[in-house]
Amino acid sequence: MAAGSTLSGPDIVETVRRRWMFRHPLVIRLAHWINVVCLAILLMSGLQIFNAHPALNWGAASTFDSPFVAITDDQRDDGTPRGIVYVAGHTFDTTGVLGLSNLNGQPAGRAFPSWATLPAHQDLATGRRWHFLFAWAFVINGLIYLVYGIGTGQLRRRVIPDGDQMRGFGSSIREHLTLHFPEGDEAKRYNVLQKLSYLVVVAVLLPLMVLTGLAMSPGMNAVVPLPDLFGGRQSARTVHFIVTNLLVLFVIVHVLLVLLSGVANNMRSMITGWFVIERRKLPAGSGESR
């Protein structure tokens, strides 16, 4: 760690110097926030589309009798309705959220609840319109981000760990688990776990969403046999759903870490570009302020 140990003596006190660092260029900031809007709308309209057929299968065609996952509703022994999630032979009672939830105050059989879908009520046609419009926005935004990121070297700096970082992999895990975040020079770059998770999201998960999405298009199938990459159209639909879950998990962890590692500094840097590096140093040290 760049910060030295605290020295205590009659004349020497530790100070914290703030150094401003321009961390996020405009294109990256714009791409980030456009992506936030796109992913939120794609997720919610996607759940709307899923609700039209709340079951997942593997292979080219659906096996209606034995889905791999299904979210539905049935009745308890006493006749009261319940929502259930069925996963590979196991049934879970999810009444209130999945399978059965309140719509305008009335219990309604629907896979994902109205607060999670776009539109809130069951409307596959409008859900599809939202989904495709923002799929285009997402793809165009993503392409601009990639071209800019690769062209300027921003992307490499952001997602490829440096050699010394790979050697510090274990200590980075330890730091995360104890919620200690880098300061000083180390805070100027993303840490190794951060880079690797961004790499997985940018290079694997988001492209997979586009590919599995296109694999479900009968028109695109006549251009390229994309379903074959995933074992069939229904497999592609299942992968699309699983990767959605992974992206939601990523966003939860991402937002949590933003909150824990200084929400004001992180938010400011993604809005204005400017990030503050805090540096503990001795007064005698060389000037570090901007």
Binding site: V13, E14, T15, V16, R17, R18, A40, I41, I49, F50, A52, H53, P54, A55, N57, A60, A61, S62, F64, A70, I71, T72, D73, D74, G109, R110, A111, W115, L118, P119, A120, H121, Q122, L124, A125, T126, R128, R129, W130, H131, F132, L133, F134, W136, L214, M216, S217, P218, G219, M220, N221, A222, V223, P227, R233, Q234, V263, A264, M267, E278
Partner: protein, 318 residues
């Protein structure tokens, strides 16, 4: 002693900023969610949302050549049960009468912008060149089923009729009543439930997971029963349309056989359109009449099909 002199300057605004940001994010979230549905309902919103699907048509038409074929599967992959969806037993008396005679009295009418209007019986159609294709049917809801279809390429029929120069669209008029247009007495409570017995060859199985598909073509259970039409208003029967690009595609056929047997009523007997590069609702069942037109205006509400007039996209390639 004042340790960390600059610390307070950084930390004091933090709670305020955090509170502000949280409140702003919350407000934005709530207003965005409610606002989205209002936006989608407005005319501007509807036009804006449609842009994505217009782009789908534009790009797919760029990428697809007339020779780009939908994947054909080996017969070993045929689905054991080809899920009948939408109308599975048309309630219409005229249709029931045709079905009772195994469609011997059936004539496919081909008219509109054609040089030689046609009336083709099933025997006439079976005498024309045939194409068999085992393809995957993709419902807009998300499920797929694989079936082997045999039928006459639509291009054969259109060539017999001869298109006039201003022909642009092929419209399919079907036998099945989806609903009744508003009339003096639009009392839907009087409708009888649809009989589910006459479903030869394919028993309709209740699907727990399917019960929420109420707004797409799964309206079979709610289809109007065979009742006195005059009391119900004008029946709105299923209709669909494609343009000449898809009409002359080699895999676009009027299918009379499914999996080597005469097409069952539940899957669209006597004739079902197959447009293999598009979704299920384009695959019109119970086709009675083919009308060649220059425009889709005047067909239903002008969207080009029953579901198109209810918000679904005319081009269903994705």
């Amino acid at each position: 002693m004042k340790a960390r002199p600059e610390r307070p300057r950084l930390s004091i605004p933090k709670p305020h900023r955090r509170g502000f940001l949280t409140a702003a994010a919350g407000l934005f979230g709530v207003s965005a969610l409610g606002g989205c549905d209002r936006f989608a309902a407005s005319p501007t919103g509807q036009r804006a949302l449609k842009a994505g699907e217009d782009a789908n048509l534009f790009v797919q038409r760029l990428l697809l050549t007339p020779a780009s074929l939908a994947k054909e599967f080996p017969d070993s992959q045929i689905s054991p049960w080809f899920k009948p969806n939408g109308t599975i037993d048309p309630p219409d008396r005229a249709y029931k009468a045709l079905a009772a005679q195994r469609f011997q009295g059936f004539k496919l009418r081909v008219d509109g912008l054609v040089e030689r209007p046609q009336d083709l019986s099933l025997a006439d159609l079976r005498a024309l060149p045939a194409r068999t294709q085992t393809t995957r049917h993709d419902c807009v809801e998300g499920w797929s089923a694989i079936g082997k279809w045999t039928g006459v390429p639509l291009s054969e029929v259109l060539q017999r009729a001869g298109l006039k120069p201003n022909a642009r669209y092929i419209v399919f008029h079907c036998a099945d009543t989806m609903e009744y247009a508003a009339s003096e007495e639009p009392d839907e409570a009087e409708e009888k439930p649809t009989e589910k017995t006459a479903n030869p060859g394919m028993e309709s199985r209740p699907e727990g997971a399917e019960n929420q598909a109420s707004d797409s073509k799964a309206a079979g259970d709610e289809a109007p029963a065979d009742v006195d039409e005059a009391a119900q208003g004008t029946p709105v029967r299923y209709y669909e349309s494609i343009d000449l690009t898809d009409a002359f595609h080699p895999q676009t056929i009027l299918a009379y056989d499914l999996n080597g047997q005469a097409l069952p009523v539940s899957n669209g007997a006597p004739l079902r359109l197959r447009v293999e590069r598009q979704l299920g609702y384009k695959q019109a069942k119970y086709v009675m009449r083919i009308e060649v037109t220059e425009t889709l205006n005047g067909i239903g509400e002008g969207g080009g099909g029953y579901w198109e007039d209810r918000g679904y996209e005319w081009y269903a390639g994705i």
